[in-house]
Amino acid sequence: MNVIEASGLGKRYGGTWALRECSLAIPAGHVAALVGPNGAGKTTLLNLAVGLMAPSAGSVTVLGGLPAGSLAALDGIAFVAQDTPLYKNLSVADMLHLTRNLNRRFDDRYVRSRLDDLGIPLQRKAARLSGGQQAQLALNLALARRPRLLVLDEPVAMLDPIARHDFMATVLTAAADDGVSVLLSSHVLAELERVADYLVLLSHGRVQVAGDVDDLLACHRVVTGPTAQADRYSEGLNVVHARRGEAQVHFLVRTNGSADPVPQGWEAHPVGLEELALAYLREPGAAALPGPARGDDAQLSAAMQ
């Protein structure tokens, strides 16, 4: 099952396309990172997926084909927007009361036990909680709805390192305990490297890379060698991004997954997720879509269940 499936999806604000020709399918059971520079269209894509806005072109479905924004879709998705929206003048207890009454399903015992663990007092007004506590409150209210898909827009951008750590621990524990699929956006990839196992890279309103992280890393590598031979060697390579010095050159190349031997004088190295993403972001013309070998993706995620 795909938790999000978009086909030719686009959103236009006036004459500007914030997102265009976006086609992707994110399988269930992943913590997926939606990454891209500011203004790449991340928030637009998330808002379309959760049904907060209507597309200008194309379509998007969630949780195995439910139209985004439909009642059935809303029932299975929890969304925490960028600014961790809370009614700041309400107490924590009132926020619980309100959320319980606005939702068809709400696990009161879960959220109370979580808030107790976190040491968040029920009588305190939301505005008087620390930034980390406010984020945790919004997250746990979302999780108390027992969603199958949790969508988070820039969840940790405003948090200090410990609050980030604790916030992500809550998210990942929910994924481990309840099998919640997660889609979260960030413009800082480094902190998602150990968290995400699926990557969607957005750039200038288009999906540039999408796929299982292990698969993506397995079919890219960096080859380093003498600049003098660079042009001859690179002819047979699928070079994503090149960094040339006068004597030495580094190519980040896409392979078919097999580790072909490199010519004498050249070295091959595995590539990290951040290096991979930066290489693509620097080369808007390059793309790795729709993720290498979709069938393998499905097999892998099935094997990981």
């Binding site: 621990a169 809550t170 990942l172 524990t173 481990a176 150990r194 595995p270």
Partner: protein, 179 residues
């Protein structure tokens, strides 16, 4: 690839809930003999770091058959890593015959990689430390000490087994199975 000293042996207590508000980096993993740590600068994939830490702990006798590995949710919460990464590490250990999952309970050690018990290892380490002190006093640097040890070990194996060395257990394929 350091392993923390084993925490208290299984007390029978259920691991405490993730106390995300305490500001502590790692919630209690009571009930597990080891705790994982990650080295972000090692360049070794995260799942492989977990596998190697278990193998290391097995070799040093910190883990023995029957011991429970950290529960997936506890490892996930304390390291803040993807649950699939922990599952991949445990699956790898299972494939090597070192661990087995018990439905509803967790993953348990089923084999050993250590060839001596913890007390024997402690004694051997002490004797070797004494030797290293005298080697150092004789003016040998680290690489000279390693070279000398390797050479002596090779001579010993050639004399006694007629083979150049024992198979490298780092690959884990030949773990001694115990019932």
């Amino acid at each position: 690839m350091e392993i923390d000293k084993p925490v208290s042996k299984p007390s029978g207590a259920e691991p405490s809930r993730l106390d995300a508000g305490s500001g502590e980096g790692s919630p209690a993993v009571a009930g597990s003999a080891i705790e994982f740590r990650l080295d972000p600068s090692s360049g070794v994939p995260t799942y492989l770091q977990l596998v190697q830490q278990v193998e290391h702990a097995l070799r040093l006798g910190y883990l023995k058959p029957g011991d429970q590995l950290p529960k997936v949710r506890d490892a996930v919460a304390s390291l803040v890593i993807n649950p699939n990464t922990v599952l991949k590490a445990y699956r790898n250990l299972e494939a090597k015959g070192l661990a087995a999952g018990r439905p509803g309970q967790g993953t348990f050690i089923t084999a050993t990689l250590s060839q001596a018990g913890l007390p024997e290892l402690t004694g051997l380490r002490r004797a070797l430390s004494g030797w290293v002190v005298s080697a150092d006093a004789a003016g040998l640097d680290d690489s000279a000490i390693v070279a000398l040890f390797t050479s002596v070990l090779r001579d010993f194996r050639e004399r006694h087994d007629g083979s150049a060395g024992r198979p490298d257990t780092a690959d884990g394929g030949e773990a001694e199975r115990v019932a």
